[in-house]
């Protein structure tokens, strides 16, 4: 899926080389570029700005300490590598707080409805969409964000969440339907 993500920032090799060499100013530049994408992803998944700030810091510290393990020759851009670190940190935080496991354990029958259809007009209202997203269970919201906003495949989401691709498809179908219902039942507003 050719989804454009806010992480998709091309980082020059020379900047990465400076970060690898321990250039703090270069790392600060990298930090400034990715601060918002990482924080936004964490805030959407966790639904908590303080936790998102922790995830932002942990992600960037981990990226700094492990930047030698990033190899652009593997075909993955730096932003993809960093995004993977950020997603793992956010999901790890959910597991640590036992929020994810509770929902995964509670998940029963699979929902295999595939095409959720286009979003309703109310989805154009950012505040309404954010409100509706916040009402979703955290596991469902995570799947929706990773799939719709970040463009991960079901197979990739399955690995990230330690479940099966069927689980991801089920959560996506169910969550998108729920999101649509929440948006369609909003209180009427006047522009």
């Amino acid at each position: 899926m050719a989804t454009m993500t806010s992480f998709a920032i091309e980082v020059p090799d020379v900047l990465l080389a400076r970060v690898r060499a321990g250039d703090r100013a270069a790392f600060e530049q990298l930090y400034r570029w990715f601060e918002r994408p990482v924080f936004t992803l964490a805030a959407r998944i966790l639904g908590d700005r303080e936790l998102a700030r922790d995830v932002l810091q942990d992600t960037m510290l981990k990226a700094y300490s492990r930047i030698d393990s990033f190899d652009a020759r593997g075909g993955t851009p730096f932003w993809g590598w960093l995004r993977q670190v950020a997603v793992n940190e956010a999901l790890m935080r959910l597991r640590r707080d036992r929020r994810l496991e509770q929902e995964l354990a509670d998940d029963g029958a699979l929902d295999r409805a595939r095409d959720p259809g286009p979003p309703p007009p109310a989805a154009a209202d950012a505040s309404e969409l954010q409100r509706a997203l916040a009402l979703l269970p955290v596991a469902t919201r995570s799947v929706l964000w990773l799939y719709h906003a970040e463009g991960y495949t079901h197979e990739e989401i399955a690995v990230l969440m330690q479940r099966t691709p069927s689980f991801s498809k089920s959560q996506l179908a169910r969550g998108t339907r729920r999101l649509r219902a929440l948006l369609e039942t909003r209180e009427p507003t006047h522009a």
Partner: protein
């Protein structure tokens, strides 16, 4: 960076869910967090350059982690490139077996999240865990490949659980050493 969401008429309903999500404004931390990150980097710096500790770490790695890891590693190498070759001998993959692996994996991740304490980690210990983390990342990368058979998937998840067990054992040992007033760097010197 191109921002397609800005090209759309905001009065028009989004055509796709991706468009709707992409149009959400980015979240911004309430305060600048760079200084905190910079201070954390300063705190971690002294542990990062200790050649003697690195040598000591290598010795202890053999004793504490690498030997048991090697036994496991032969399985992992197989998982890397030839998981299909084990299909002939692997136990039949079942949803129940996979669910058990998912559950244990999740439990070990929770355990690790509790055991890990970056505030007390030395540079050498971080390097060791980084290596184990990198192996986990490699397994996760293979798991994300499309077209895996159920048996290959089960084998990779088995490898993942084994890797997490090794990591949990290492973290537990590190915490135990810390609780007793020492750490890997010091303990490793005694090994040499």
């Amino acid at each position: 960076m191109p921002d397609t969401s800005r090209d759309r008429d905001p009065r028009m309903p989004p055509a796709t869910w991706h468009d709707a999500f992409a149009a959400l404004p980015p979240e911004v931390p309430a305060r600048d967090t760079w200084q905190e990150v910079s201070r954390s980097l300063d705190a971690a710096r002294p542990g990062r350059r200790r050649p003697l500790a690195w040598l000591a770490m290598a010795a202890a790695l053999v004793l504490a982690v690498a030997l048991p890891w090697r036994a496991m590693d032969s399985d992992m190498d197989g998982a890397a490139d030839g998981a299909a070759t084990r299909d002939m001998t692997a136990a039949a993959a079942t949803p129940a077996a996979l669910d058990a692996l998912y559950a244990e994996s999740a439990q070990l991740e929770i355990l690790l999240a509790h055991a890990r304490d970056s505030q007390v980690a030395s540079g050498t210990a971080l390097a060791m865990t980084d290596d184990l983390d990198a192996r986990l990342a490699a397994i996760d990368s293979r798991l994300s490949r499309p077209g895996l058979t159920e048996q290959q998937r089960q084998q990779l998840w088995t490898d993942r659980v084994q890797a997490l067990r090794a990591l949990a054992a290492f973290e537990g040992t590190r915490r135990w050493l810390a609780a007793n007033g020492t750490h890997y760097d010091g303990a490793l010197v005694h090994v040499n």
